[in-house]
Amino acid sequence: AQTVTQSQPEMSVQEAETVTLSCTYDTSESDYYLFWYKQPPSRQMILVIRQEAYKQQNATENRFSVNFQKAAKSFSLKISDSQLGDAAMYFCAYIENSGYALNFGKGTSLLVTP
């Protein structure tokens, strides 16, 4: 079974600074997808960014970017110019191309301080 590990239960960043959230995963598959979801206190699950394993180029969405290291099975999320609204739980998730179920990490709680 695939496992997703987020080794940082909590992180803190000052407004306008940059923070990196770590994620590693274990799989024997070569074709899969990786996601970061954000869950604010409102409980919604919001897709932040996704990465296709077959693409070497790291995905970027505005202030959010990933560092995808396929050989190392690492998928970290970098948030630049952090804003108060970025405070949330962040979940890393993995799914095979054959799909049907996201496997989530245990989450990282991000605190943003003024």
Partner: protein, 114 residues
């Protein structure tokens, strides 16, 4: 327009009761899911349905019975509720079950068992 809507948002009930959570998506997606988020915020797949057919049943007690009357709906019925069923239940949908299709989540239903 809410893409994936769940009702109710909150459900408080007593042990032993039977309850249902409804989910509807207006995205025209073929695949729908139920996830459970426990008290430690861990998210785990329960069921996946594709075109009204069950694809994944992830070792969920048979007290939980999903029903998909059509592609746009996936309801969750729970019999004989137990204290351990207290959690947030998320419905999600995607265009297909393939990993390259992002999953869109509802706002969750918080189930509290007294």
């Amino acid at each position: 327009d809410t893409a994936v809507s769940q009702t109710p948002k909150y459900l408080v009930t007593q042990m032993g009761n039977d309850k249902s959570i409804k989910c509807e998506q207006n995205l025209g997606h073929d695949t729908m899911y139920w996830y459970k988020q426990d008290s430690k915020k861990f998210l785990k797949i329960m069921f996946s349905y594709n075109n009204k057919e069950l694809i994944i049943n992830e070792t969920v007690p048979n007290r939980f019975s999903p029903k998909s009357p059509d592609k746009a709906h996936l309801n969750l019925h729970i019999n004989s509720l137990e204290l351990g069923d207290s959690a947030v239940y998320f419905c999600a949908s995607s265009q297909t079950g393939s990993g390259n299709q992002p999953q869109h989540f509802g706002d969750g239903t918080r189930l509290s068992i007294l």
